[in-house]
């Protein structure tokens, strides 16, 4: 949550609730509705790290609000984050470790492990296809996000098949 908040503050200073609304508006249904408490905690930490600073702004009819803005160090941190390549997806290493180690320990049969993992993946895929059907086609952000998840899952299944070919 740190970098998205920095990115929004790079546009203009804002208070916590405005940031929550901006996140929701930008990502639409693709984004888990951000928890306001989590936003305040993150802002406090960013301030401790010197990446943002804040001041209280008096309001006539309501309690004061704390408005945050980016510091030069924050802008630098944001620039570095945008510039660096993002991590590629990690393979499902937990399952792979089970697959390799469990038969050695006499705990499970590889075919059984792969079968139950495949069932699990297909169950998730069912959820994703249902979600896709329920998603407004005009919501490009959401559509692309689901498609990304589908492609990753397909790759996991293909990889499972490769494991089946080589390990059984």
């Amino acid at each position: 949550m740190r970098q998205p908040l920095l990115a929004l503050l790079a546009k203009e200073p804002a208070h916590g609730y405005e940031l929550k609304l901006a996140l929701e508006q930008t990502f639409g249904s693709a984004y888990p509705s951000p928890n306001i408490g989590q936003i305040y905690v993150t802002l406090k930490r960013l301030e401790q790290d010197g990446l943002v600073r804040s001041e209280d702004v008096e309001q006539t009819t309501r309690p004061n609000k704390r408005v945050y803005e980016l510091t030069p160090a924050g802008r630098e941190a944001l620039r570095a984050w945008v510039g660096e390549p993002s991590d590629g997806p990690r393979v499902r290493d937990e399952f792979f470790i089970k697959l390799i180690l469990a038969p050695m320990a006499g705990l499970a049969d590889r075919m059984e492990l792969m079968n139950s993992q495949r069932r699990h993946y297909l169950g998730i895929m069912r959820n994703l296809t249902e979600l896709q059907a329920d998603t407004d086609p005009a919501d490009t952000t959401a559509r692309l996000l689901i498609e990304g998840a589908v492609l990753h899952l397909q790759a996991d299944l293909d990889w499972l098949e490769r494991c089946q070919e080589e390990l059984v």
Binding site: M1, P4, N115, L122, R126, L128, D139, A142, L157
Partner: protein, 259 residues
């Protein structure tokens, strides 16, 4: 199974399965080399059930489908369709059976190149004795659902791979077969065409047609009632698909927040 048979004659009540195999074996012998492609497969497909077959390449998926459609003879074992034992039928009897009850979508489309798209799709219905008017109506519906209505007058060779594949699917569904056998029906399609095909398959399934489909595409497989995993010519797994409970209530749950 609450569904009733979608059409056709009733068949003996001793079997509730639309399709059933017992110890089905297919062995190829050529130049002294023996390949056991299918090694003792027992499967059942209920009326109106959608079953996907997955498995590594070379696991016998396509061979199994071809044997089940009567395109190649079984080496041993039994195939029962609609309560009738069919593995010993002649080629001619198989042809009649397919025309009446089985739609087939191949990995390679097998469209008739000297006929238009419309004629390709209408032909199976006409062969089965449907009136030309009904055949045309059905063809128009199918091509429209698959987004290729404007290709009706074209020769198959003028179409892209994805379009030909959809024509092949339309042809297979033209007779509203009680069983659709499909080998990688979305193999050449991009994601929006795949969605059209999935919608049509879902509708066919909802209408009571049984589907037995070989696929690598997990999106397609996830729509099935059941997924069979074939490995080394044998059934390695045969399981219902169960959505994971309490996961993904909204798109936002797909995204993992970092930082």
């Amino acid at each position: 199974m609450s569904r009733s048979a979608p059409k056709g004659l009733p068949w003996p009540a001793e079997s509730s399965a639309l399709l059933r195999t017992s110890k089905l074996v297919k062995v190829y012998r050529a130049d002294g080399v023996t390949v056991e492609a299918v090694r003792g497969v027992d499967i059942e497909v209920a009326i109106g059930e959608f079953v996907a077959i997955m498995g590594p390449s070379g696991s016998g998926k396509s061979t199994l489908l071809h044997v089940l459609g009567g395109l190649e003879p079984a080496t041993s074992g039994e195939i029962w369709l609609r309560g009738q034992r069919v593995d010993r039928l002649s080629k001619a009897a198989w042809a009649v059976l397919r025309r009446q009850h089985i739609g087939f979508v191949f990995q390679f489309f097998n469209l008739l190149s000297n006929m238009t798209v419309a004629d390709n799709v209408e032909l199976p219905a006409l062969l089965a004795g449907v009136t030309p008017r009904q055949a045309r109506k059905r063809r128009e519906e199918l091509l429209a659902e698959l987004g290729i209505a404007d290709k009706a007058g074209a020769a198959p060779a003028r179409l892209s791979g994805g379009e030909q594949q959809r024509v092949a699917l339309a042809r297979a569904l033209a007779n509203e077969p009680s069983l659709l056998l499909a080998d990688e029906p979305t193999g050449n399609l991009d994601s929006s065409n795949t969605r059209d095909v999935l919608r049509l398959l879902r509708r066919a399934h909802a209408g009571g047609q049984a589907i037995l489909m070989v696929t690598h595409d997990a999106r397609v497989a996830s729509l099935a009632d059941r997924v069979i995993n074939l490995f080394d010519g044998m059934v390695a797994d045969d399981a219902r698909i169960v959505p994971i409970p309490r996961r993904m209530n909204g798109v936002g749950d797909v995204l993992e927040l970092r930082g």
